[in-house]
């Protein structure tokens, strides 16, 4: 292909896009071009500026500097409507669907003039079913979004873009919520789209997916475009280094020495609460000196299991045993007293209290007992000393123990939580999505700490929706699907695809 023909093929051009949020430069002079029928991957760590850049392209944000051209025409900034009209479609990481409305209504929203009497639902329905057939996006147009699985919702998001005849499709971390099988189906759909001349920007931080789907990779780091390579001319290791800007050494797994069972669940079921799936006859043994990994698409009962171990939930039926010291009532306080260390899924909402100081947050689980509490009075000096010790030992970067915790980055917040949990010397550690949203440096640190806790004899339950993380860290693996827990699989006995079968729930049916 010569330069002359490619110049005509360019469908999208970003010119020196810069976006600042206060003192943070999220995008720093980023330029690139997208050609017809091309898939480019936008690779970068969390916080590298990928989503911000795409939000500018789609008009959610307005760039401070720089311009966007679609098919040679400048795109007015800050108008999603203009981006849609120009043929740009975006599949957001957090779906933009109204749960209470039907698939068809969600697709039709905003596609017709507002001041029109009546809606062309019949014609729309035909177009949707044609698209669904052509691109392999099967979904019932009359189903309520709230009743669909995550994979189906993503299909609706893609249909929304295709219905508007999008020529450029942006997918923001599309595989984060999918099983390996659903990911394969998505890739097939994308290949069909490319065959029809669509161009795709694929945002991800998963290297093997980037290698599988893209022709070109753009790497973002700290808001800057630090590399652009043809996918064929690179490999996962090189990409990882570009992404992080340094050599990375993932925590080396060492042989586990499993000990006694510290907690055991026998046929435990819990009630479903709101959107949260309950547990269905779950058998689980947590052994000392072992990391038990829990894989599965989020929302399949992991929350209920985490709540159960945290003392926020009690079994509806079945038995739950601790190795020693059974408690009369299983409550959060009893869980802590029994040596359960809890690293909650959402460090902002349940892990910390945003407007409390680091000190106050550090003693949230110990303030009722000596030495923090003395005859009903708080010993703030002791609390602050403990907090300083945590800050030092766990390398929490912060203005000081008196600072409000909301000022900390996610990684530093997580380090404080780690300190709070580990300093209490827990026998059982519940780590629910412990590295979500952290940069690779912090990820490695947290993972090393979990392995160290295991080696010190703790039973660790690692819940993660990132299958790679589960595979890398766990000594034994369970899979959750619709509140059911798979049998225990030893490290290395199951491939990701085999685990995917269980994640999709089929393994349970085959076993039954």
């Amino acid at each position: 292909m010569t330069d002359k023909t490619t110049a005509q093929d360019i469908v999208l051009r970003l010119n020196r896009i810069t976006k600042r949020f206060g003192s943070l430069t999220a995008n720093d002079g980023i330029s690139f071009e997208l050609r017809r029928g091309e898939v480019i991957a936008l690779l970068g760590e969390n916080g590298a500026g990928k989503t911000t850049l795409m939000n500018i392209l789609f008009g959610h944000y307005t760039a401070d500097e720089g311009t966007v051209e679609v098919f040679g025409q400048p795109l007015p900034p800050g108008e999603p409507g203009a981006a849609l009209a120009a043929g740009v479609g975006m599949v957001h990481q957090h779906f933009t669907l109204a749960d209470n409305m039907s698939v068809l209504d969600n697709i039709l929203l905003g596609t017709e003039p507002l001041w029109k009497l009546g809606m062309g639902r019949g014609a729309a329905r035909r177009k949707v079913s044609d698209l669904a057939r052509d691109f392999g996006l099967v979904v019932d147009p009359d189903a309520r979004i709230g009743s669909l699985s995550v994979g189906e919702r993503q299909r609706v998001e893609i249909l929304k873009a295709l219905y508007r005849d999008a020529r450029i499709l942006i997918l923001d971390e599309p595989t984060a919520v999918l099983t390996p099988q659903e990911t394969d189906a998505l890739f097939e759909t994308l290949q069909k789209a490319v065959a029809q001349g669509l161009s795709i920007i694929f945002i991800s931080h998963k290297l093997h997916e980037v290698m599988a789907i893209s022709q070109r990779v753009l790497v973002l780091r700290h808001g800057k475009l630090v590399g652009e390579v043809a996918t064929q001319a690179t490999d996962r290791h090189k990409l990882a280094e570009m992404m992080v800007g340094a050599e990375i050494t993932p925590p080396a797994p060492r042989e586990a020495r499993p000990g006694a069972v510290l907690m055991s669940l026998k046929a435990v079921s819990t009630a479903a609460r709101g959107n949260q799936t309950g547990l269905r006859a779950v058998d689980l043994d947590l052994r000392a000196g072992q990391i038990t990994g829990l894989a599965g698409v989020s929302g399949n009962g992991q929350g209920a299991l985490a709540d159960l171990l945290s003392g926020l939930e009690v079994p509806q039926s079945g038995e739950m045993h601790l190795a020693e010291g059974e408690t009369a009532r299983w409550t959060p306080r009893a869980a802590v007293a029994q040596g359960v260390g809890r690293i909650p899924e959402d460090r902002h909402k349940t892990g910390t209290i945003a407007d409390f100081s680091l000190t106050e947050n550090a003693v949230l689980e110990s303030y009722t007992k000596p030495p923090i509490a003395r005859r009903g009075w708080m010993n703030w000096r002791e609390a602050e000393d403990q907090t300083r010790a945590i800050i030092e030992k766990y390398d929490v970067r912060c203005p000081g123990p008196e600072a409000r915790i909301r000022l900390l980055s996610g990684g530093n917040m997580q380090k404080l939580i780690l300190g709070r949990v580990f300093e209490a010397a827990p026998r059982i550690i519940l780590a629910n999505q412990p590295v979500r949203g952290l940069d690779i440096g912090a990820v490695t640190y947290v993972q090393e700490q979990l392995i160290a806790a295991r080696d010190a004899g703790a039973a660790v339950l690692l819940i993660s929706e990132d299958l790679d993380e589960v595979l890398a860290l766990s000594d034994v693996i369970h899979v959750m699907s619709e509140g059911r827990l798979s049998p225990e699989f030893a490290r290395g006995t199951k491939t990701p695809a085999e685990l995917g079968v269980w994640m999709a729930g089929q393994g349970f049916d085959d076993a039954a």
């Binding site: 949020f21 206060g22 939000n55 789609f58 959610h60 944000y61 307005t62 108008e79 999603p80 409507g81 203009a82 981006a83 849609l84 009209a85 975006m90 957001h92 957090h94 933009t96 669907l97 109204a98 749960d99 209470n100 409305m101 209504d105 969600n106 039709l108 929203l109 905003g110 596609t111 017709e112 003039p113 507002l114 001041w115 029109k116 009497l117 009546g118 809606m119 929304k160």
Partner: protein, 315 residues
């Protein structure tokens, strides 16, 4: 018991129920539009007072009745604009803003009344809308006088209920309105303006509330006096919940409440009324409404983004 049956069989009872329901229907539809778009409008009580006053004043100063209705609607939309500006682009607490609007609109109406009529001791009267008997239909026994011998504003209330239903469920605008109350992010991602939709809904909804108030001075009574709205706005907020955010059910709720109200007025005049303090009768519609609310709203689907301010996520 026989008394109640006598009342229920009288045409005047049903006519009264429909008449009492009319202002509630206007205001409930207004509130419903706001809440469907995701904005709780607690300014409803004050906006009804304002509508009652401005509509009446315009007619008192010589405007014709329909112009009075338009003036009331305009005044309501103006305060709706104020409410919407504070709650939509600025994202302030909808509770605080709504109560503030109610206090402000009520005070403005009372203050303007004193300014306009400083010397008056008994409120001056206007000639209100007169009942219009629809030929043929009004001759149907009981039903005819109840439904088809009302004032034009009452007919308008029912037409409006149909129009709101049609708009919500049969037009692209309605789809966008419902979506903006469910997930404003979805609306923006489809290229529509969340701000414009929500502000528009609050303005139009507030206009309907004001017309509901104007019904009191221009159709039910013929003059404006303080305290005449008397909590009807708050009832309408409950009626929206009762109606599960659906226009048809909300109208039904308004009729039910009005029916109880018409019933208690008549029960006061029966032998029963001589024995039981009249305050007990006054309580009946409210108690029954609370009971109905408990049963009806159990499975109601609240607009998911109700009372959730939307900003475009620029940090």
């Amino acid at each position: 018991m026989a008394d109640i049956i006598d009342i229920l069989l009288s045409a005047s009872f049903w006519a009264a129920a429909v008449r009492i329901a009319s202002p509630l229907i206007f205001a409930t539809l207004g509130e419903l539009i706001c809440e469907r778009a995701g904005i709780l409008n607690l300014g409803i009580e004050g906006i009804m007072v304002l509508g009652a006053f401005t509509g009446w004043l315009a007619v008192y100063y010589g405007a014709d009745l329909w112009t009075g209705v338009a003036v009331a609607m305009g005044a309501g939309m103006l305060f709706g604009l104020l409410h919407a500006t504070l709650t939509v682009p600025f994202g302030l607490s909808q509770h605080v803003v709504g109560l503030g609007i109610t206090l402000l609109a009520t005070s403005v109406a009372y203050f303007a009344y004193r300014l306009a009529l400083p010397q008056v001791t008994s409120p001056p009267r206007i000639t209100p809308f007169q009942p219009y008997e629809i030929p043929l239909l009004s001759d149907i026994p009981i039903l005819g006088p109840a439904l088809f011998a009302q004032t034009p504003l009452t007919y308008l209330a029912f037409v409006l209920a149909f129009a709101v239903w049609f708009t919500l469920y049969r037009t692209p605008l309605g789809l966008a309105l419902r979506a903006v109350g469910e997930n404003p992010g979805a609306v923006e991602a489809q290229g529509l303006s969340v701000t414009a939709l929500r502000m528009g809904a609050v303005m139009v909804g507030s206009g309907f509330m004001a017309v509901g108030g104007a019904f009191l001075t221009m159709s039910a009574f013929s003059s404006f006096f303080f305290e005449m709205v008397n909590g009807r706005g708050w009832i309408c907020i409950a009626l929206v919940v009762f109606g599960a955010w659906k226009p048809g059910k909300a109208v039904l709720g308004a009729l039910l409440f009005a029916g109880f109200d018409a019933l208690q007025i008549r029960l006061q005049q029966t032998p029963l009324g001589a024995e039981i303090p009249y305050q007990i009768f006054l309580m009946i519609p409210y108690i029954l409404s609370i009971l109905a609310l408990i049963f009806m709203s159990r499975r109601a689907e609240v607009p998911a983004a109700l009372m959730v301010p939307y900003n475009r996520g620029e940090r």
